[in-house]
């Protein structure tokens, strides 16, 4: 599964993209797994209310299931326009 990071999430974690193997059932499970990994993840994910998540390029919630998913992206609220 590809995990993508954008904006200050990318900067805090220190990379734009990584490929991981996970058994996480939901986005929240994946986040818990990442937080357990290293401090920079714990810092980036310390306040989930400040984050948004897209699964296979569709905006969704942290309780979204991950079965069959190819791409998960984490980023702050968008500021387009």
């Amino acid at each position: 599964m590809d995990i993508l990071y954008f904006a200050w999430v990318r900067e805090r974690i220190g990379l734009p993209k990584e490929r991981i193997t996970t058994d996480a059932a939901t986005v929240a499970d994946l986040v818990a797994e990442l937080i357990a990994r290293e401090d920079r993840y714990a810092v980036a994910f310390s306040d989930l209310s400040a984050l948004r998540v897209a699964v296979d390029q569709e905006l969704t919630d942290f309780d979204a299931p991950l079965s069959g998913v190819r791409e998960v992206a984490f980023f702050p609220p968008m500021t387009g326009g």
């Binding site: 993508l4 954008f6 904006a7 200050w8 990318r10 897209a54 390029q57 569709e58 905006l59 992206a73 980023f75 702050p76 609220p77 968008m78 500021t79 387009g80 326009g81």
Partner: protein, 146 residues
């Protein structure tokens, strides 16, 4: 319907001229252009990051919803990414409709959704360092109008 995501500047005049040109059934055309703003000469560069792939999908989804909700003849969305200077044009939308109310409301709707639902992020590089532009509560609240 045309959706463009590009780093290069776009030609507002040519786009405005070409959009819905020669159509006899569209009485009203509205355009919105977003410009890099720098009130107190504090900003050097506005850096716009986006999510290639999702960006095009999200813009297409928003434009499609506008076409479904209002009586429109055409919709155009152009959005840039990369490094922009104060005064540079960031993006534009255009709507064509038989009647003005539809053209206005659809353009207004497109902008509200573009602000909060299209995966762009802005970073300001200025005299006082760099900072990510925070999303505004009022922009999220604006979505409830629709």
């Amino acid at each position: 319907m045309r959706i463009v995501v590009q780093e290069a500047p776009f030609d507002l005049g040519a786009e405005s001229d070409a959009f819905a040109a020669g159509r006899h059934d569209m009485g009203a055309v509205v355009t919105f252009t977003g410009v890099v703003r720098d009130v107190n000469d504090q900003l050097d560069v506005m850096e716009i990051e986006h999510y290639p792939g999702m960006t095009e999908k999200a813009l297409t989804k928003i434009a499609t919803e506008a076409m479904q909700r209002w009586s429109l003849g055409d919709v155009l969305v152009i959005h840039r990414f990369g490094r922009l200077a104060p005064g540079d044009r960031i993006m534009m939308v255009a709507t064509a409709a038989p009647h003005r109310r539809d053209a206005f409301e659809a353009a207004d709707f497109l902008m509200d959704y573009l602000k909060s639902r299209a995966p762009f992020w802005k970073k300001e590089h200025g005299k006082d360092g760099t900072s990510w532009v925070a999303a505004k509560d009022e922009d999220e609240d604006a979505l409830s109008r629709w």
